[in-house]
């Protein structure tokens, strides 16, 4: 069975009353070539996909498929060689205000010289959010990730999973419209990881934020996403874009035991294996030199 690669944008009702655009994040023909002494390296060839407002999409690909490169282009940390990224219709040329990024390396992403609370508060402080409002936002964010008991701790006094929660709280408090996550759970243990996955689903539902979740873990992508975008191996194109038609209420035991979960997982796995072998989707095949 081949699910429709372009789902109708009617899926989720936006949380706020105002009319939202049909596309929140648009990646149009993004290409990235690194210039090195050893010659040019084409990390990303031609990537195009759209995210609807409030969508939770997972991006999977074999290692070295340019996931991190793509994320840097989307978050405005790096300019693509060709193509463009549009956020809410506006071209991304630097880190956009409506976007937050959660990095894999929580230990380096959190500032060790600041306490948990100060870490979460910093982006708001920098934006000039008044103190009272800041306090409310930080409290709510820490509450949402279940860390309201450690605001005075330093990040390095916490476990890895808790540190990543702090990073997530910082992203929540920032009130982004798009949340990018770059393999956020790759460095935490399996049990913590399951908890954090559920946390992401809860936060996503509560905030109605658009999430692009990059992972190399196939199970994780199927469990978390409403949609999985599979990347080819480098130079990267979209290998396949599938809808995850699992029930909206997910839980670690039952969802993962569903026959449909196994099917989807199987399918994504096959596609990744194909990608590793150098198979390319028909549309992009013609561009291969």
């Amino acid at each position: 069975m081949q699910p429709d690669p372009t789902p109708a944008p009617a899926g989720k009702t936006p949380p706020s009353g105002k009319t939202l655009p049909e596309v929140m994040l648009s990646v149009r023909g993004v290409k990235k070539v690194y210039q090195t002494d050893g010659g040019d390296i084409e990390a990303v060839r031609n990537l195009t996909f759209d995210l609807r407002p409030g969508e939770l999409a997972c991006l999977v690909g074999p290692s070295g498929s340019g996931k991190t490169t793509l994320l840097k282009c989307i978050s405005g940390l790096m300019a693509p060689t060709a193509g463009e990224v549009l956020l809410d219709g506006k071209r991304v040329s630097g880190p956009p205000k409506k976007m937050a990024v959660v990095f894999q390396e929580y230990g380096r992403s959190l500032f060790p010289w600041m306490r948990v609370r100060e870490n979460v508060e910093l982006p708001l402080k920098n934006q000039g959010v008044p103190k009272a409002e800041r306090d409310t936002l930080v409290d709510e964010a820490l509450e949402a990730v279940g860390l309201s008991h450690v605001p005075r701790s330093y990040p390095w006094q916490l476990s890895g999973g808790m540190q990543q929660r702090v990073a997530i709280a910082r992203a929540i408090a920032y009130q982004p419209e798009v949340l990018l996550m770059d393999e956020p759970f790759a460095a935490v243990d399996a049990q913590t990881r399951a908890d954090l996955e559920d946390l992401i689903r809860v936060v996503w539902k509560k905030l109605g934020v658009t999430v692009l979740f990059v992972t190399h873990d196939i199970d994780e992508s199927v469990y978390l996403g409403e949609r999985v975008i599979i990347l080819s191996s480098s130079p990267t194109v979209v290998q396949e874009d599938i809808v995850i038609d699992l029930p909206d209420e997910r839980d670690q035991l039952n969802t993962r035991a569903l026959p449909r979960f196994t099917e989807l997982r199987h399918h994504v796995y096959e596609q990744i294996q194909l990608a590793k072998k150098g198979h390319r989707p028909a549309a992009a095949g013609s561009t291969t030199a």
């Binding site: 937050a100 380096r108 992403s109 010289w113 910093l122 982006p123």
Partner: protein
């Protein structure tokens, strides 16, 4: 003693438990103290046994007595004040300049490359080589000392700040960028805290070097302070007095180091070098 403990019954174990950490803690200090006592005893014996003539090396007891006498003299404290004033001012100027330049140079790849060879050329010039120049420019005033102190201390701090600024973590910096922190905000919240441990090391090293240069300048140029007093004591034949003043400069050096360490510990409580460290 281990056989006594279980036999002594009731109150003994608790008393032993109370005593043990107390006994273990000062062991290091006791050993240090023993070292000092041993050193002083050797010093005392060498002139007393006539190994070295007392005229050149007075016994420790005599020197310490002279030092204690100095403590009671206003003139001594004025000299200490003069030395410390030159030390402090020179250090402050050096740190301020080095921090400013370090951050400016360090945050630009172009400036870093452009200044690297100049820094490496100027840095090894010994500050004392500038004494004739200092005298030419300022005479025997405090400015001469300041110039030498500042020159020597400046490089210590600058080099450390340059390393510190270069040590900024890419992920931390990218995080700050994605959360909309501009250049100045990143310097304040990311670059400065990253460079702070390096800066503190630089300041601690510079503080010691600054004291050396302060004393040197006073000795050689004759600007007011402990160094000049040492020279005067020597030429006046007050050998014990001279040794006492040398001892005083040593004590000042120790105090400066202790002070710097405690400041470092307070400001860097979050840093891995401090947070894992057992108090020394």
């Amino acid at each position: 003693m281990s056989s006594d403990d279980p036999a002594s019954g009731g109150p003994a174990p608790s008393a032993g438990r109370d005593r043990r950490p107390v006994r273990r803690l000062p062991a290091k200090q006791l050993l240090g103290l023993a070292g000092i006592v041993g050193f002083l005893a050797t010093w005392e014996l060498i002139p007393r046994l006539g190994l070295i003539d007392e005229r050149y090396l007075p016994p420790a007891s005599e020197v310490i007595l002279a030092l204690v006498r100095d403590f009671g003299l206003t003139a001594f404290w004025i000299s200490v004040g003069e030395t410390m004033a030159a030390w402090f001012l020179g250090l402050i100027i050096a740190v301020a300049l080095a921090v400013l330049l370090g951050f400016v140079i360090g945050s630009s790849d172009f400036l870093r490359k452009a200044t690297n060879s100049t820094v490496e050329f100027l840095r090894p010039i010994p500050s004392v080589a500038l004494i004739p120049l200092a005298v030419l420019l300022f005479g025997v005033k405090i400015e001469s000392s300041l110039m030498l102190i500042t020159y020597a201390a400046f490089w210590q701090v600058l080099i450390q700040v340059l390393y510190g600024v270069a040590d900024v973590d890419m992920v931390a910096n990218n995080t700050a960028k994605t959360y909309g922190l501009g250049r100045m905000a990143r310097i304040r919240y990311v670059v400065f805290p990253t460079a702070l441990p390096y800066l503190m090391t630089g300041v601690r090293l510079a503080a010691t070097v600054a004291l050396v240069l302060a004393i040197t300048a006073e000795l050689v140029i004759g600007s007011p302070g402990l160094g000049r007093e040492i020279a005067l004591a020597q030429s006046g034949g007050a050998i014990s007095g001279m040794y006492a003043l040398v001892l005083a400069t040593g004590l000042i050096g120790v105090l400066i180091n202790v002070l710097m360490r405690s400041i470092e510990k307070k400001t860097l409580s979050w840093h891995s070098s401090v947070r894992s460290e057992v108090i020394v």
